[in-house]
């Protein structure tokens, strides 16, 4: 195989990080065997990459091999009676929901974009807006098969090879490469979801409402105005949603049709949304975002209840195509912290105030309600998460990095955790602090067993676990 002509410059989702790698397209499990052999012979390391939309370097492997898994995209078995689906690892959430929704099912856990692949979802053990109710995606996997760098094809379930099951899900693709994944879907009785939206004027109310109202809903998510100060700090809007019960939607047959779930590609029926990010760009500065956030908050003051399609509710990040381009040349990064419900308010107040003092406010804040899980590299807590998007420019890199290092300290002191699909600046020390030495030792021991020659390495793995 000629690697030279496979050299590619790959990026993270936010276009803020580039790495040159050898990209090899994988279409079947046998191809993986070949690549492992090639890697051994040529002394290169290997990382799997789905659609490449993680915010950090988890699917980058500078100077090494990156497996393009998008070719392994077959839905192998779908049983509309039981809701169990078996897919190849490169199947995206989009492929999946489009297949199961017309039969009255929906993926149990989805990310804010439908572009993610199942392999990536498992490797990061993603959560959705229903994390507090149903846990992470791993809790809905009944079985998966994975190819280990040793050449062994293993089948794992909560019962069979349980140690691998709970480590490979959340294992950042560093123990083996997922080949097939079996998942149980969730029953739905309508193509619509019922959403309640209300505003929260303070950080305390924001988190209080997330905590108090979550049990009544299937999904809950908050928007946090990251520029609001003083008494208004942490204000925002909460969207909470319930699936409709049988009979609640008189037009269920109609709304369950795939055509009903279509995200409109034009704004107000005229402007192509693919152009929208150009118009957003001029607003992506401190003054512009303050203006937009204030308007958004004002618009949220009226409590309202409405129904929208599942696709519209879940895949907000797909609503404006290429929105991340509006952040300009330096791109964006996301900083997401997970805090226990007892310490979250104080820690986030301190962080938001610090970001204001430094003149480095986040431009978007999103909150969610979480509960712990049993996976090895878990990011979950009984509490909340706050995801903050920051614009990266040539001038703000160094001060922003200092800010985030201080954030890490605040979060760790408050007993918080981090998520490897998101944060790009997590240091090995921070990872050790929130995961614990024991967890890391366990992970490395499994790595040694599954990957004795260290073939699987990503830029993230080297950066965080390398030393």
């Amino acid at each position: 195989m000629n690697l030279t002509t496979r050299f590619a410059q790959l990026e993270n989702f936010g276009h803020s990080l580039k790495a040159t790698c050898y990209r090899i397209k994988i279409e079947k499990t046998e191809d993986l065997h070949e690549v492992f052999q090639l890697a051994r012979q040529s002394g290169l390391t290997v990382t799997a990459r789905g659609t490449g939309i993680s915010y950090n370097d988890v699917s980058l492997n500078g100077g090494g091999i990156v497996l393009d898994m998008s070719g392994m995209n077959q839905i192998l078995e779908w049983d509309p009676a039981s809701g169990v689906v078996r897919c190849e690892a490169g199947v995206t959430l989009e492929d999946l929901w489009k297949r199961v929704e017309p039969d009255g099912w929906w993926p149990p856990v989805v990310s804010g974009t439908m572009k993610t692949t199942l392999g990536g979802c498992l490797a990061a053990n993603i959560h959705g807006k229903n994390n507090f109710q149903v846990g992470t995606i791993g809790e809905h996997v009944t079985e998966f098969t994975a190819l280990l760098p040793t050449g062994a094809l293993v089948t794992c379930s909560p019962k069979k090879n349980a140690d691998l099951f709970y480590a490979m899900i959340s294992g950042l693709g560093m123990l083996g490469i997922f080949t097939t994944i079996t998942l149980k879907m969730k029953r739905i009785h309508s193509g619509l979801i019922s959403v309640d939206a209300w505003h929260v004027p303070t950080l305390r109310r924001h988190l209080g409402d997330l905590l108090e109202h979550a049990p009544r809903y299937d999904y809950i998510v908050g928007w946090l105005d990251t520029l609001a100060t003083g008494n208004s700090l942490g204000r925002g809007q909460i969207h909470a949603a319930n699936n409709l019960k049988e009979g609640e939607d008189p037009n269920a047959r109609e709304t369950m049709k795939l055509s009903y779930q279509h995200l409109p590609d034009r704004l107000f029926g005229v402007m192509p949304k693919s152009l929208l990010h150009y118009f957003m760009n001029p607003f992506l500065n401190n003054a512009g975002v303050r203006l937009i956030n204030t308007a958004k908050y004002a618009a949220s003051l009226r409590r309202h209840t409405f129904r929208e399609s599942h696709a519209e509710f879940h895949f907000l990040l797909d609503y404006v195509p290429d929105w991340e381009r509006s952040f300009g040349r330096g791109g964006l990064i996301q900083y997401q912290s997970f805090l226990p419900k007892e310490t979250a308010a104080d820690a986030w107040r301190e962080m938001i105030q610090l970001s204001h003092r430094r003149g480095l406010p986040a431009y978007l804040g999103v909150t969610k309600r979480h509960r712990p899980d049993n996976f090895l590299l878990s990011h979950a807590v009984d509490g909340f998460s706050l995801a903050m998007d920051f614009k990266v420019t040539d001038r703000n890199r160094a001060p922003l990095r200092n800010l985030l290092l201080e954030f890490d300290r605040i979060v760790l002191n408050a007993g918080g955790r981090f998520y490897f699909a998101k944060n790009s600046e997590t240091s090995p020390e921070t990872a050790r602090a929130f995961l614990g030495e024991e967890t890391i030792a366990k992970f490395k021991k499994l790595k040694k067993r599954c990957d004795p020659h260290g073939l699987l390495e990503s830029d993230l793995y080297r950066r965080v676990f390398g030393s």
Partner: protein, 269 residues
């Protein structure tokens, strides 16, 4: 590979990794142990750049790497003779893996072995110069051009010379090797610009390096290699196509290129 490349750990223990807030470039300098190559390495090391330094002379290379790493830079040393063309593909793959990618390459390897007078001929010297200055460049830049073309990104810098602009009486072999390199780089530029790759041809005049000894006549506008390195880094940043350093050489060579042959063949420089 005949000789396994020697690696040095960075001074501060852990190698610096690129993140969105601490971006790094990865560069390869061939012919890095002395003169312009070494000056470029030292300047680049202070600019968030991880470097792979390739040269024939192990001792000088080791010393340079140690110095860069001691000052907070990051450089890896690889001993290699550019005439060992067959070593290149495997060594390049290793370098790219060790660096964690490749963003630019500078081919600075070059020798100047004058025949020793305008009535002297020396095929051995001429051949050596073609092998190092031209074929060595082609051996390295062929796989790199292919990689950068495939990636749709990258930067290639070739250190040619004002000497390649005309064939003169003093050193036909050197003129030919540098003319060949200039033309080769131009052809790469014409192929690769449309693929997002920048190719910069550098034409230094006289520099205070080992090579100055090979200069015929009395050298003028002589500069330190550090000065040339600054010009080159600025040109790389601006993604220029061809630069002369000092820039006055552009005008000098413009005149020399236009001297008609019936005059030029009577001149003794």
């Amino acid at each position: 590979m005949s000789d396994a490349p020697k690696l040095f750990a960075p001074a501060q223990g852990r190698s610096p990794y690129a993140t969105p807030l601490t971006p790094r470039r990865r560069g390869l300098i061939i012919g890095a142990s002395t003169g312009l190559g070494a000056a470029l390495a030292q300047k680049l090391a202070g600019q968030e750049t991880s470097l792979a330094l390739v040269a024939r002379s192990k001792d000088k290379l080791d010393a340079l790497c140690r110095q860069i790493n001691a000052n907070g830079g990051y450089a890896l040393a690889y001993q290699h003779d550019v005439c060992n063309y067959d070593e290149v593909p495997a060594l390049l793959r290793k370098i790219v893996a060790d660096l964690g990618g490749l963003d630019f390459v500078i081919y600075a390897a070059g020798i100047n072995l004058p025949p020793g007078g305008m009535d002297k001929y020396n095929f051995e010297n001429d051949r050596k110069m073609i092998e190092v200055n031209l074929i060595g460049a082609m051996a390295w830049l062929t796989p790199i051009a292919e990689m950068f073309q495939s990636a749709g990104a990258g930067q290639i810098v070739g250190i040619s010379s004002v000497a390649g602009d005309r064939g003169r009486v003093g050193n036909p072999g050197y003129n030919t090797s540098k003319a060949g390199l200039t033309t080769y780089l131009e052809a790469l530029r014409n192929r690769l610009t449309r693929r997002g790759v920048n190719v910069l041809t550098v034409k230094p005049g006289f520099m205070k390096t080992e090579m100055l000894k090979a200069a015929q006549g009395v050298p003028f506008f002589v500069i330190e290699p550090e000065r040339a390195a600054e010009d080159i880094l600025r040109a790389m940043q601006k993604r220029k196509q061809t630069i002369y350093t000092l820039s006055i050489w552009r005008w000098i060579m413009l005149i020399i290129r236009h001297i008609p042959s019936f005059i030029f063949r009577r001149l003794s420089f």
